[in-house]
Amino acid sequence: MTNLLDVKNLRTYFETDDGVVKAVDDISFQLKRGETLGIVGESGSGKSVTNLSIIRLVPDPPGKIVSGEVIFNGSDLLLLSNEAIRKIRGRRIAMIFQDPMTSLNPYMKISKQLMEMTQLHLGHSKAQAHDHAIRMMETVGIPDAHSRAGSYPHEFSGGMRQRVMIAMALSCEPELLIADEPTTALDVTIQAQILELIKKLKRETGTSVILITHDLGVVAGMTDHVIVMYAGKIFEQARTTELFSTPGNPYTKGLLRSVPDPTAEQGKLYQIPGLPPDMAHLQPGCPFAARCDYVQDICRREFPPFVKLNSDHYSLCHFAREVYRESGGTPVQE
């Protein structure tokens, strides 16, 4: 099965007062059709910028996609004209953002915003678009879709607004849905509803999904593959089950251990010491060196290699194989 999306050596840099920030620095990953890829990272890791780069919404200035390829269905998105990429956005690649309040136009009725999508991309007439909008609202579980279609965003709750966003995103039946922290701003019970909805829609429409989040629980429940980002680089990528059971990178291990486990007894919680790096002034060597439990001299001098631990499992670390073995994995021969 060919990949739906193939990102190669993507680099997106930002010019700031402090210097050049390499928000995304040479990352490569693939997404197979019908799969869900999770991108995990904390603030400053570059996960959001990665997405914006894929659909070329990076604010320019101060940001710029410096190099790389983003091959979507065979064509490189970075080489397309502005007009061509605009046709793709919304129609074949759709995106939902974290804050549904600011993503919706407060002055426009919900129905109108939904209709705009299909009128623009599918050439629907007003009546067709309206019917389609109502159907989409029902599909995403908004009760009384008919009567609520004429409402404004502020009349909906956060969870409902996010559903509207999902409806908008899926209106044109895109091949790829990018969801950037879609549930972070929502209550946990609503989050559960939205995540179930995304899963259901994915099953029904076969859309591939890229899910960006910092919540490892969400990743565990929703994704097939995961990439872990830190300081603009991919630190680990693997199948989800593999990543959680046998992580091969100290950062991933640290993250997994610092999430409180509600089923275990209380004790001191593991914490990753120190602070995320200053992206404008990265030190040589591994960006995680200052905080790593496994750090040695070499980590501070040399940038770590991207080690293949398994088919489908890679880790950026000088000691990837040792860490992997410690977790119970068996690395393949070099």
């Binding site: 956060g158 946990v188 989050q191 919540d215 565990a220 610092s258 509600p262 209380q266 593991y270 914490q271």
Partner: protein, 360 residues
């Protein structure tokens, strides 16, 4: 809930209502706000907080937990009710006496960016409480500030820096140092880790725990993050639309919750384990959290509860000790029949014998 010597704070029937207007003759005439709208953010909360414990207060947005925390400290004026501390009612103290008592009750905020004055240096921010309560001056004050910074894990060399030069986690530490400056007994931690990165959350939770042990503090830890609450709390109180619906120790709440809402809440938390996630059956709640403006009648949860019966819409359930030290507010369970799944359909063993009584 009887008060005993080890009770630090006794909250009795605390209410915080915000009047949004409406319902007046002019409104009726113009048809703008025909119904009087009141936000019952906190609607009759009673609980004791014991010395040295961390009481976790959990609930979703709009449940009133932040308002409750602030009302206890009278940063928001309570509409009714009492907050007893050292035999004084904080809710009704005169301003001067209240300011004196503020020394013992401090707060840490959620937003590390908004909770520090951007025009003051760290030294000034942490030192201000010392000045206000005249606890130290000059050289001595400076030394104390340096000690405080080191206590929370920041280098004392940061004393002349400004908040914007720090990361979120560091700013949160500054806020903690400020709260500790006056040696309080009680700290309300209002979502102290929600705005922080995962790797930093653990640091701050550990810090708070260490400080509690070292300084004999009592915490009210407010959060919507159940995993964090489970980790840091001794007891947990669950809040929904202005009322407490369940209180128990942390382990029990997580492993054997009695209330349908609590069960749903816990079931909704994603677990970082793909196999568990794949296998689990979630209890999904229908619909949205209702608005705290003119909330549902009777049991506020009735609009979403999978076990709802007619009586639930009329009777306001009280917190009843269903199991030892485990309280729940639901008419469909009782000490004799604590598990709602086992209760016969339509039955309400929690109702008083002489029929349903309309509560306030």
């Amino acid at each position: 809930m009887s008060a005993n010597e080890s009770t630090l704070l006794s909250i009795r029937d605390l209410k915080v209502h915000f009047d949004l207007g409406g319902g007046g003759p002019l409104d009726k005439l113009f048809g703008t706000n025909p119904v009087k709208r009141v936000v019952k953010a906190v609607d009759g909360v009673s609980i004791d907080i014991y010395k040295g414990e961390t009481l976790g207060l959990v609930g979703e947005s709009g449940c009133g937990k932040s308002t409750l925390g602030r009302a206890i400290l009278r940063l928001t004026e309570p509409t009714e009710g009492r907050v007893l501390y050292n035999n004084e009612d904080l809710a009704h103290l005169k301003p001067k006496r209240l300011r004196e008592q503020r020394r013992h009750l401090q707060i840490i905020f959620q937003d590390p960016y908004a909770s520090l004055n951007p025009r003051m240096t760290v030294g000034q921010i942490v030192g201000e409480p010392l000045e206000t309560f005249r606890l130290a001056r000059g050289r001595e004050a400076e030394q104390r500030v340096q000690e405080l910074l080191e206590t929370v894990g920041l280098s004392k060399r940061f004393i002349k820096r400004y908040p914007h030069e720090f990361s979120g986690g560091q700013r949160q530490r500054i806020g903690i140092a400020r709260a500790l400056a006056v040696d309080p007994d009680f700290i309300v931690a209002d979502e102290p880790i929600s705005a922080l990165d995962v790797s930093i959350q653990a640091q701050i939770m550990n810090l708070l725990e260490r400080l509690r042990r070292e300084k004999n503090l009592t915490y009210l830890f407010i959060s919507h993050d159940l995993r964090a609450i489970r980790h840091v709390s001794d007891r947990v109180a669950v809040m929904y639309l202005g009322k407490l619906v369940e209180i128990a120790d942390a382990k029990t709440i997580y492993e054997e919750p009695l209330m349908p809402y609590t069960k749903a809440l816990i079931s909704a938390v994603p677990v970082p384990d793909p196999q568990v996630e794949a296998a689990r059956q979630r209890i999904m709640l229908e619909g949205d959290v209702p608005s705290p403006i003119n909330p549902p009648t009777g049991c506020r949860f009735h609009t979403r509860c999978p076990y709802v019966i007619e009586a639930c819409k009329e009777v306001v359930p009280q917190l009843v000790e269903i199991k030892p030290a485990h309280f729940a507010a639901c008419i469909r369970i009782s000490p004799a029949q604590p598990h709602i799944e086992d209760v016969a359909p339509g039955a309400a063993p929690g109702l008083p014998q002489n029929g349903p009584q309309k509560g306030t």
